[in-house]
């Protein structure tokens, strides 16, 4: 079975390709990328005017299995991924129970095989129960196929515990992804500490909580010569810390979300919990700084932090609503509309941050259109206009702050192992 995706602009940063070309897929693998490839025996898909890229990778999603299937499961979450143009997502272990053993990693891989329409990578917990006390069996989980380790959602309070984890993981060449908010400074906070929080009387989560957390964890990684990945960076000062550390040769990488690149805390309204996220939406100077960090390479990749919750959990008092919203189905449209079409971000850079970069950081056999690679492909129509409609979401989550936005550009096809799983927003599997 062959497919020829013909005449699109192929952007394949891993192989330094950006040109009008054809992509030939055969037996689920990339067979060739080139001009005027033979269509013999192939189903032809015309892609003129479209962007053809390696399948998008999101290294930070919460698919909520096991235990929180009312929020999301691998079936709904992977369909949301396919609808948004993602072919591979890595799901966080803050589940019930926490994914902190090899048996759970394997069980989740089994669940992915049963229900998912895109590739799902399993991130294991760094510490047992994500409690930040005792190291989880990270070696066993590595051998079971865990892609990385994270206590995401929680700050590792003990520097000693984190240092031990850094040291221990050297044997396995795996990365820790750190949620960076010093916990004593954000205990009751529900939004950024700012002029707006002062006016609203809301308890704040100050940028300095993120800054000192990033500073500590980067210094510890430097000391241990370990690799550390900063999750969803949002503070401008934290970006500075990562930039300086990279200049010293520290093995630090960082990720950012579309919301932290495009929204400020001015969007926070008391009656609507959709803007409640951790770390919170910051001020314009931080938004400008994270974009600058993305452009100069301080920030390596873009993730969604897709965090679905059940409707009734979010539809309540801001203070009591859980943090997070589903981002997989809106990320590409938001990035194209607010950053690419406005000239702030080059589309080739955007593709690199969502394909080659995460593959390189996490050692994935993905994110490239080289011959013989799995045929995970995302086709974008950068001009297609559409409106974000919660009713059309595949995720079980609700309360996205992007609902109602008129966007320009979206993924129109998603191929996983050569199989078309999404076309024009409809998931086919």
């Amino acid at each position: 079975m062959k497919t020829l995706i013909r005449g699109g602009r192929v952007i394949d940063p891993a192989n330094k390709i950006d040109k009008i070309a054809d992509v030939l897929v055969s037996e689920g693998k990339i067979a060739a990328v080139g001009e005027a490839l033979s269509a013999e025996g192939a189903q032809v898909i015309e892609a003129a005017g479209k962007i053809v890229a390696p399948g998008f990778i999101d290294m930070h999603v919460h698919l909520r299995e096991p235990g929180q299937e009312a929020k999301e499961d691998f079936g709904s979450g992977s369909r949301a991924a396919a609808a948004g143009g993602y072919t591979r997502v890595a799901t966080m272990p803050n589940t019930k129970p926490v994914i902190d053993t090899a048996a759970l990693v394997k069980a989740m891989q089994q669940r992915a095989a049963e229900d998912a329409v895109v590739h799902i990578e399993i991130i294991g917990a760094v510490t047992k129960g994500q409690k930040g006390e005792e190291m989880a069996e990270v070696g066993d989980m590595t051998q079971a196929g865990a892609v990385a380790f994270s206590d995401d959602g929680h700050f590792t309070k003990s520097a000693k515990v984190l240092l031990n984890c850094y040291d221990y993981l050297r044997t396995f060449d795996k990365i820790i992804i750190n949620h960076e908010e010093e916990s004593s400074l954000v205990e009751e906070g529900v939004m950024n500490e700012s002029h707006r929080s002062a006016m609203l009387g809301m308890k704040g989560r100050p940028t300095v909580a993120e800054d000192i957390a990033v500073a500590r964890d980067v210094m510890l990684a430097e000391y241990a010569d370990a690799r550390v990945h900063v999750a969803h960076i949002s503070s401008g000062r934290a970006v500075d810390i990562v930039r300086q550390a990279k200049a010293r040769g520290v093995k630090v990488t960082a990720e950012v979300t579309p919301q932290h690149l495009t929204m400020t805390d001015d969007a926070v309204e008391l009656f609507d919990s959709s803007t409640k996220i951790n770390p919170p939406l910051r001020e314009q100077k931080d938004v400008d700084a994270v974009l600058a960090g993305l452009l100069d390479g301080t920030i390596d990749c873009i993730v969604t932090d897709h965090s679905p919750h059940a409707q009734e959990e979010k539809d309540r008092e801001y203070m009591y609503a859980p943090s997070g919203f589903p981002g997989l189905e809106t990320a590409v449209g938001i990035l194209l509309t607010d950053l690419v079409h406005t000239g702030k971000l080059d589309i080739a850079t955007m593709v690199e941050k969502m394909t080659a970069a995460p593959a390189r950081i996490f050692g994935l056999a993905a994110g490239s259109l080289a011959e013989g690679m799995p045929a995970d492909i995302t086709v974008l129509d950068p001009e297609l206009e559409w409106t974000v409609d919660e009713k059309k979401f595949y995720t079980k989550g609700s309360h996205s702050p992007f609902v109602g936005r008129r966007l320009k550009g979206r993924a129109v096809m998603t191929f996983v192992d050569g199989r078309l799983v999404m076309e024009n927003g409809e998931v086919l599997a």
Binding site: H195, G201, M202, L270, F271, R316, Y318, M319
Partner: protein
Amino acid sequence: MGKNSMSLRGKDVLALADFSAEEIQMLLETAKEMKNIIHRDIKKVPALRGKSVVTLFYEPSTRTRSSFELAGKYLGADVVNITAGTSSIVKGESLRDTLYTVEAMGVDAIIMRHKAEGAAEYASRVVSPVIINAGDGAHAHPSQGLLNLFTIMEKKGRFEGLKAAIVGDITHSRVARSDIQGMRKMGIEVHLAGPKTLLPRYLFEEDGIYVHDRVEDAIKNADVINVLRIQLERQKAGLFPSPREYARIFGINDARLELAKKDVLILHPGPMNKGLEISPFVAYGANSAIQEQVQNGVAVRMAILTHALTGGKEV
């Protein structure tokens, strides 16, 4: 009444920020009439006869809840009180479902107090009765802001050019925020002071609002001092060293009062911690309007209910 074409009928009362200076003035004028009713032998007018009002309180309250209840009753409305401890709220019913239940009983207004900032605004988007915010977290307490303005109007006869000091725990105070909004709308200069641990770091950047490091600087030549309640758990949370030190450095006492104007008006939202944020001499002294505030609270709440439920036409 009737001379004014403005109508607040059906308007939710969520925060003073949502009201114009003219609307606030109209509410204060009505409150003046209402205060006369409270002084009558028979304190009952039929303005809200046939209307039903629910007070829905998720936090304890003495004066606010009972003054709203009396305000409704003096105006002839039927008033039902729901408090968190004695309702299905303790069974874990969500705010949305409780609101639906209250709405289904056909009430015209829900007077609501809640710990969460924005709870009243959320309620206003969920159900159709008029929502009157009786305090939402540290966000707003519009009827308290209004009764403070009413008390100032009665005692000073004007707003423009007055200097008010708000002293104490600004961070956690919905009263402070409502005062700031209301006072600025009416042209009063606002000076804030308290321990820096109890002042928001990114404070009010508007004109006419001044933040001081020392209480003395805030109350100097003040026409009004609103002394905020200090909750003792703030000391436990490490925000100031001891009640003793608070009283000595930030408390409003006779010696400090000398710095203000001779006829300075002392306000306090209650309940007071005498000997902590305010000395007994100041609390019960000649400048204190603290008891008067309570009576004015009933009058102001009568005005709010009348305008929100009838547009103020039927008194």
